[in-house]
């Protein structure tokens, strides 16, 4: 049965994030106008990396269940890690744990146990900074992604299939990404094909979000249809995580969201990256 391989230190899997860093990512989210899209996405990716590290942490250190890459595309295309990981592509999760570019202190509200709220200081590691410059060279980003994923799968042919999550707010400026996306998701391990998510941020304050559709019928334009069509059907486990978030999906539901706000992006990231079957 596909998508059932164990994820272990001897058979790790990988996540690759493709992050649109074009100029328009400097605009605000429609529902959270105080925060730029680039900042919201950076926070979401940093938080996701933090959660992944914690999930892989054991008393003796962080176990390399995953290798993780973050590719930014805007003025340039390449690794978006900062600090000592700058320039690195796929990085074992233990190295990510030990190499944040910096650790910020942030406050969060917690229950004080007496009906009130307390400000608690928490450490928030930063690996990835917000950038918003230039065009949207999506084809080049997918071409790089294909090389990285091909190399990973060659080294780990029986791995749980890599998950690639593309977060963008606009149309590709270096041609149609259809072929590059299909080339990527055609890569397979013995456990199944690469899983591709296309998460499209909102540019239109009046547009309502659409999450994980199972057909292109309700999509507003050809570009949305292109991204939907290239996205992978969600696995059974992903659909069960989606159900926890309140989504009622079908077998045909795909890893595609349109007009997404930050909450939907965070939900989609959780659905795409929640580990199962760790050993």
């Amino acid at each position: 049965m596909p998508y059932s391989a164990e994820i272990s230190r001897t058979a790790p899997s990988c996540f690759l994030f493709l992050i649109d860093q074009s100029g328009s990512m400097g605009d605000g989210f429609t529902v959270d106008a105080g925060k730029k899209k680039s900042e919201g996405v950076a926070d979401a990716i940093n938080k996701l990396l933090q959660n992944l590290v914690i999930r892989c942490a054991k008393e003796d250190g962080v176990r390399d269940y995953f290798h993780v890459g973050v590719i930014g595309y805007g003025t340039t295309v390449g690794s978006a890690y900062g600090g000592s990981l700058r320039g690195r592509d796929m990085v074992p999760i233990s190295e990510i744990a030990n190499s944040p570019a910096r650790i910020e202190e942030r406050t969060k509200k917690t229950d004080d146990g007496a009906g009130g709220l307390l400000d608690q200081t928490i450490r928030f590691p930063i690996w990835f900074e917000p950038v918003a410059n230039g065009g949207t060279p999506m084809c080049r980003a997918f071409s790089q992604a294909r090389n990285l994923i091909q190399s990973f799968v060659s080294q780990h042919p029986d791995c749980y299939p890599p998950v690639v999550i593309n977060i963008t707010d606009g149309e590709s400026t270096d041609g149609s990404p259809t072929t590059a996306m299909h080339d990527l998701s055609a890569i397979q391990s013995t456990d199944g094909n690469v899983l591709l998510f296309n998460l499209m941020l909102s540019n239109n304050p009046n547009a309502s979000p659409m999450a994980f559709p199972d057909s292109e019928n309700a999509l507003p334009d050809e570009y949305a249809k292109l991204l939907f069509e290239a996205a992978s059907p969600l696995t059974t486990f992903m659909r069960s995580v989606a159900a926890e978030h309140g989504f009622s999906l079908t077998d045909g539901s795909r890893g595609f969201v349109l007009n997404a706000d930050l909450v939907l992006i965070i939900q989609a990231l959780d659905i795409g990256t929640r580990p199962s079957n760790l050993r």
Binding site: E6, S8, R279
Partner: protein
Amino acid sequence: MHIISEIFWLQKRGSAESEYEDAFWPARSFDETCERFTLAIADGATESSFSSIWAKQLARSYVRDGWDRDDSFRSSLAKRQRLWTKIVSRKPLPWYAEQKLEQGAFAAVLGLTIVDQSGSSGSWAVFASGDCCLVQIRNDEIFRSCPLSSSDGFNNSPVLLATSPSRNIAAIAEIVRQEGIWQSGDVFYLMTDALAAWFFRQAEQGAKPWEILLNIGLEESTFHEFVRAEQESARMRNDDVTLYRVDIL
């Protein structure tokens, strides 16, 4: 009653022996006559840290503290939670280990107390939280099983006992306590989840998995070979495996 108990265990494939996160107590096999025999196994959750320490705490405290009454269980649990926190807080930790620690550790536990009444029969009581299982074999058949009795009862997210009291509400509500009767010749199998799921699946297919486990014998390597063969053929999930077998002669 004359008890012969034997313990078999193996860490998951690909892990070091030191990474075994199940636990059992007593830590040695027995061959003796007694009026009361108490034993437990536990299974620390892979996704939590310091869960092997928690699993050991639970298995030992069932045997040592006596969980036959609800109040004794609750005070024992609170004591063990404090002890776990003390043990894991001894040295400074990196940021991720510190944040992981806040989530606490989780483990399943199964305890069995066997009491002699006439020399050739008596009563037993089981305490179960999570998906470790007890099977009682009599006359070459499954006579009782607890808390699960079929392979489809297992999933990847059982409700487990936690080191954090605030995370234990559901687990405490779902604790299973059962009682039964034994007679000479009965055999009890206490199994952590991967082995228990395998056991029920075999039985559902018409096999007699208790015969396989009974024939494993005294050689630990035989148990290793059996488990690895079943894991490699995907008939058994790759996990830490623990078997406590108790024969009442």
